[in-house]
Symmetry: C2
Subunit: 439 residues, 2 copies
């Protein structure tokens, strides 16, 4: 005889006030969610549009709350880039509101019939897409993510528990207050959107163990944040983002195209997970290709971390500006900066072996004119997105036509690659009989 109590998270012994508060918040979100699950798309879209209007109407209040966060950030000497991501002004609030309108315009995945059949005994079988339940989002001090995540969760029928980084506490509190006021005005439970920023790091720890209350945790942010959530969570996690992305220039590559793609993949936007980090060059084209590529990248301000073979070629050709020797650590590094690791490989097999060892499974691309090289690369590279003759920057939900992107999953379970709204849902099986019993 086995006993299982459901809906009860595993707490370990005595509970702290933060533990009680966070579990209560998650339980409130879980209790609120069925009301959302019953809404039609029209009702959900109306809620999102009302939220957009309310954000614009109350922009002054939101910007004032943000000013408190900015003042604290300035006192703490926050780095300029981080401060910019934290800053809200009326134009940015309007842009955040527009994101909600864009989400409202997306198709609703809930209710889609994925598969269905009439079984030989007459049972009607359907697999339908349903909300996942309660989504936990853990991210960094970017107030726009607060609204974006809430909008995507609500559109997909899920309640959301938001933890957005204590540096954005006042901003997030103000934004969440607006969203909750709209929910109440629309006769929906405010607890469809709950924030737990006030409970700090301890709160994140509790959220990660709220099995039975939170159905999935999605970390959005840097590698450190993601690793912490993946390793510490007993709630299922969708791992996103880390991209140690490779481009392999095959011997048969079109050199002119290759230079354009490599420059685009490295410099079109840096600091993003689909930017190029390691360039592998086939020995058969290295002497011809490397000097041209290096010259173009040097003009873009890219620093090359080059292995011995590529340094030899670059030195012989005189294109040694911004070239330094690669160390083993370079092969493992997601620079997120104007840096690029470069290595000459003997052949496709060595390129595949290098990628197998160092890739984070995000995105890799081959530049080639050879059918067999393309076929093998696309088949054998085990990454979420594999490409031929295209910039890795296309590895993106927007580019794939998803409309919205929750993140790019680098894990193999549930969702792999860019995630759109359907990836925020699950399915259930519906079986309809007429008195069927199993023989």
């Amino acid at each position: 005889m086995s006993i299982k109590v459901t809906g009860t998270p595993q707490t370990h012994g005595t509970s702290s006030p933060v533990e009680e508060a966070v579990l209560a918040a998650a339980a409130a979100a879980k209790a609120a969610q069925p009301a959302l699950a019953r809404l039609t798309r029209d009702r959900k879209d109306a809620v999102l549009l009302a939220m957009a209007d309310a954000l614009v109407a109350r922009a002054e209040e939101i910007v004032a709350a943000n000013a408190l966060d900015l003042a604290a950030a300035d006192d703490a000497g926050m780095e300029a880039g981080l401060r910019d991501r934290l800053l809200l002004d009326p134009a940015r609030v309007a842009a955040i509101a527009q994101q909600l309108r864009d989400t409202a315009a997306l198709p609703d995945p809930v209710g889609e019939v994925e598969r269905g059949s009439l079984l030989r005994n007459g049972l009607e079988l359907r697999q339908v897409r349903v909300p996942i339940g309660v989504v936990g989002m853990v991210y960094e001090a970017r107030p726009n993510v607060t609204v974006d995540a809430a909008g995507l969760a609500l559109k997909s029928g899920s309640a959301v528990v938001l933890r957005g980084g204590s540096a954005a506490l006042h901003s997030n509190t103000a934004l969440i207050a607006v969203l909750r006021d709209v929910l109440q005005a629309q006769d929906l439970p405010a607890d469809l959107v709950v924030g737990i920023d006030q409970h700090g790091r301890e709160g994140v720890g509790v959220l990660m163990t709220a099995r039975g209350l939170v159905d999935v945790l999605i970390p959005r942010g840097g590698a450190g944040l993601i690793a912490r959530v993946v390793e510490g969570s007993t709630v299922p996690v969708i791992e996103t983002g880390t991209g140690n992305t490779h481009v392999f220039v095959d011997a048969s590559a079109d050199l002119e195209q290759a230079v354009e793609i490599i420059e685009n993949a490295k410099t079109q936007r840096i600091g993003v997970c689909n930017a190029l980090e390691t360039l592998l060059v086939h020995r058969g084209i290295a002497e011809r290709a490397l000097p041209v590529i290096a010259a173009r990248l040097a003009a873009d301000g890219v620093a090359l971390h080059a292995d011995e073979a590529s340094r030899g070629i670059l030195e012989a050709s005189g294109t040694i500006a911004r070239v330094s020797p690669a160390t083993p650590a370079d092969w493992e590094t997601e620079y997120l900066s104007l840096d690029l690791a470069v290595k000459v490989v003997e052949d496709l097999d060595e390129a595949l072996a290098h990628i197998r060892t160092y890739s984070t499974g995000h995105t890799e691309s081959i530049l080639t004119r050879d059918l067999e090289s393309q076929r093998r690369f696309l088949a054998e590279v085990d990454s979420a997105v594999v490409m031929a003759n295209a910039s890795t920057r296309f590895s993106d939900g927007g580019e794939f036509g998803f409309g919205a992107e929750i993140g790019i999953s680098t894990q193999k379970l549930h969702a792999r690659g860019p995630m759109g709204l359907p990836e925020l849902t699950t399915t259930k099986w519906i079986v309809v009989g007429q008195g069927h019993v199993r023989p």
Copy 2:
């Protein structure tokens, strides 16, 4: 600058010999898997059929190894049911071989194109089904699962690490030796199938932390085993099995059908996760229905754990054989025996609330002739499988037409409900361009 070393599991400080051995086994499986990923369906099926032949040819050796496990089990005073699941004879070995032939006959999910489009910029986009990589299976002392799991993993292109319970150590070792010999004879790496039974419980603990080497862990067995793996694993887990299954008899139910379905759901096979465990009866039909149901179930030897209201009705009608008072624990209990909890509810809302509180999210069924009751039940019950007017025993991969079943997932990520071969795979995105760069 962020650094990530891939392919390296997170070990914590010094490593033990068991840790080294299990991680080496998982690493060997990971290294072997690409050879399998490249095989056509024809080659994979040929391997499975050769394995089936080899098992039959070497049945004597397998049965002899099993005799050692049985002797140890008898010394330890193993319970008869468990001993029967452990026992192998030539007929059972032949049945295990037949399972492999059945798996060979299933369609191969690898290579299926799930979605695809031509993007507006001319990029060709395809989402294709690919092997998941390395599957870890943790199960109890049932040697047939060893071969079944290995066959399903190989068919879906994955290597497999097997941990099957120390009571079956000799049997599993003999079975795995046969499978590995066939792999080698077919010029494939033997490490596509590795067993770690010899490393005991400590080995399971190591396997659960082998992130980067093992892509998914699937526990098959009792609730205790599953809970241990779900809570302790940093490798992604697919939770299977626990079924605290409900049937709700609506006021409008066809009573004759209801009796047949309830009897079938409770008694057609006990000890399985889709068997009925709690019966909820609408007050509007309880006086008419409960005596008939109780009489039928009493004849089947079912013991009822009845709430006060249903006891009152049963006493008044004189059908009180095998009826005892329900305690709160009964609502949480998956009996897996000839026991059934019974409760009278005021209406559909109370039934839904009871299910929301106590269901493990496996399977629930409504018996009704009312359209609105059926619609609400199917929409609002948040379980992997929801049914109307059918026995819960149909919640099964074989019944759904999947051919093979890895288990029934009660989680919402990746797979929900009965899992077939496609659920043992993942997808990747293939993007083919002609020199595309992102504007």
